[in-house]
Symmetry: C2
Subunit: 412 residues, 2 copies
């Protein structure tokens, strides 16, 4: 719901103090000493830093164990071990995708992420169960958060016949993105998987997001196969490569030509800034003009217990991983977690400026570098002019009710 609001006494982007006037969900004025028109409520944020909403541009809403009973992590070490373990655990542990996606959405909103790009597992064991659950959450939470979904063949596409037809159905049901996964390392048939997902993309007119964990030469060659298809089909600006560990190679003769081609074909890169894996060089990518987004990836799932869906902490991780230490460099980490994700999700209304959607949060920090270093709790989260979270608590998803969220007034 688009609301009216005057946010008083904040420091937008950490610059000079300015009030922010919101009418019908849009920022209509920013400046000192604005007066609220009659009937417009006022929130005084007492000198807090005001930033545009965070963008969670890579997660898995269907697989979080958040708030569920503890299950020891017993998955084996390989990627395939973890994939098989998870498929088994979904039913055995009752990881209900509707319940769990709603919990993770509440966590995201509480921390200022109001836009989520989520992969959803599609496989021949679960069928479309995960998607149905997440679609129900998306419907219920329309007033809280923008959600885009990727039909994601987590267990492989070519190795599990029947998956492609389910992906096709998922796109008809409402997924905005076609997903892919390690075409060589998992599917063992890079040409087969890439031809299949690019054909789906063509059929439905949808963009593509490929998980690519393949390292070094293997990943580089798979990227080259992606480049071929983007060029041939004119899909510039329509493809994202998630993780892209091969771009973290120490060998610049391998990496530099890949970065140049990513820029030339306007292919985006999503990085979580992983501490334990080779990671795409954030500054180098941005300098080359590549769109870069970030995300939490799995949040306390069967793969790992870590994660909390905090995209401001994610900016900290990006900073630590990429040795971003000057104030200007640290601002890049936040930029990736806000504007970068908005670019990938094509959120044209995103950004804290006059004329944009009033999607923002406040935090007790002196400036952007401070916010990135310390990721303090979010004091206030506003979506389209409505307060949706206070002091780290989402105001509208406390109960497991399946009813859609409709804003009347803020709960006591």
């Amino acid at each position: 719901m688009a609301s009216d609001l005057l946010i008083r006494g904040g420091r937008p982007h950490g610059l000079a103090p300015a009030d922010i006037l919101v009418r019908e969900g849009k920022v209509v004025a920013m400046g000192p000493c604005l007066q609220p028109p009659p009937g417009v409520p006022v929130e005084d944020v007492h000198g807090a830093l005001v930033l545009p909403s965070l963008v969670e541009a890579h997660t898995h809403l269907d697989k979080s164990l958040w708030d569920m009973p503890w299950h020891a992590n017993t998955a084996g070490p390989s990627l395939m071990d973890k994939i098989d373990h998870e498929r088994h655990a979904r039913r055995a542990w009752d990881i209900d995708p509707q319940r769990q996606s709603a919990r993770q959405v509440a966590l995201s909103v509480a921390q200022g992420s109001l836009h989520i790009l989520s992969h959803v597992d599609i496989d021949t064991d679960q069928g479309l169960w995960c998607l149905e659950g997440v679609l129900a959450t998306r419907e219920r939470c329309r007033a809280l958060v923008d959600i885009q979904l990727v039909a994601f063949p987590q267990s492989g596409l070519m190795r599990r016949p029947g998956t492609l037809a389910l992906m096709d159905q998922a796109l008809t049901m409402g997924c905005e993105w076609v997903g892919g996964l390690d075409p060589y390392a998992i599917d063992r048939d890079p040409k087969g998987q890439l031809d299949a997902i690019f054909a789906l993309s063509q059929k439905h007119g949808r963009p593509i997001d490929i998980h690519l964990h393949e390292p070094e030469e293997m990943g580089a060659l798979t990227l080259d196969l992606v480049f071929e298809r983007v060029r041939a089909l004119g899909l510039q600006g329509q493809v994202t490569i998630s993780h892209a560990f091969c771009l973290g190679s120490a060998r610049s003769e391998l990496v530099e030509p890949l970065i140049a081609e990513l820029a030339a074909l306007d292919i985006a890169v999503m990085t979580t800034g992983p501490a334990g894996w080779s990671a795409p060089p954030l500054k180098r990518l941005l300098a080359a003009g590549v769109r870069v987004s970030s995300g939490s990836d799995g949040v306390r799932d069967t793969w790992k217990h870590y994660g909390n869906a905090d995209m401001l902490e994610r900016a900290t991780f990006l900073g630590l991983r990429n040795r971003l230490t000057t104030d200007a460099d640290m601002a890049l980490a936040l930029e990736v977690c806000t504007h970068g994700g908005a670019q990938v999700m094509r959120l044209h209304g995103h950004g804290l400026a006059v004329g944009k959607d009033a999607d923002l949060f406040t935090v007790r920090a002196e400036n952007i570098a401070h916010a990135v270093a310390a990721h303090p709790p979010r004091e206030l989260v506003v979506r389209r002019g409505t307060v949706v979270a206070r002091n780290g608590q989402c105001l509208h998803l406390a109960t497991p009710s399946p009813d859609p969220i409709v804003f009347t007034k803020e709960p006591a």
Copy 2:
């Protein structure tokens, strides 16, 4: 001050519920349904996880900017740039070591770290100013925290004549450890620096802690020079290598012989689990029998804005950096941040068990893996039976008073 206390309703180590009875600062009984002797106060922790106090085994108490006005990070990219920038900023920005070390101690105590091994810069510009400040804090905080100090030649030893005499004086004044720093990369005279610090160690009968950022072959060779001296002087068990980036080399033929020799000579390794640097392999070191400790390193200093002195979050970082995902592996991360540090600091009373010092904290977590994954706020921190922090706030260092902290009763 050693106190009496009954901690009721906790789950020590995440195991079965057990009360903990403390008399005169020591744990004298652990078990279900203990009754408090007359006059012994009771703290009910309502099912919280109870863990032994955290050990901050590598930090720089003299250089934190915590709670100071914001200074943009303008240091250049090289190690020497940062060193020179910091020496200048100390006076220019008034980074008073007494005030700042007290602030960081309060932060540590609030988060359950009750033992701190801190380096203190000794150089020909500052002289012993930093040490005097930190010594004053140590004296003031004796009732709160154990502090051991390393006389640390941050600006180089051989390259700045006069530093060695100051180091000698620092050891007389109360430093327990002799520090070293990149004998080749910073001092450009590995034989000179190592001979000098081992001689100081011999003269004062003190252990050695060397910052070693040198990568690959350079670091490996410097380690070999350390091994030579440990063998020749019989200093087994008396040396710690901090950072040890060379152990993070991907080349096992370089790393494995080094690990074997570290184990043979009982040389400890301190790692922060750095996301952006090559890091010693934690599991491999522990499996070889090497003592491993961890620390926050600098906490919001002129080198970088990051850091908050939370050693439970540090366990998260160790876990992420070392891909520790099973519950058992995650427990290793906590072990390094508790027992590992206690081994290095030779804290014989450390450990949550009958007969040990009652130094512990509680946290709202289901088990150790959960605590490592989420590092929730510390609800209660107890030192020698006295409550020293509650809900993330240190109870005894709120004011900048220089008076020693003497426990009477808990402030309201």
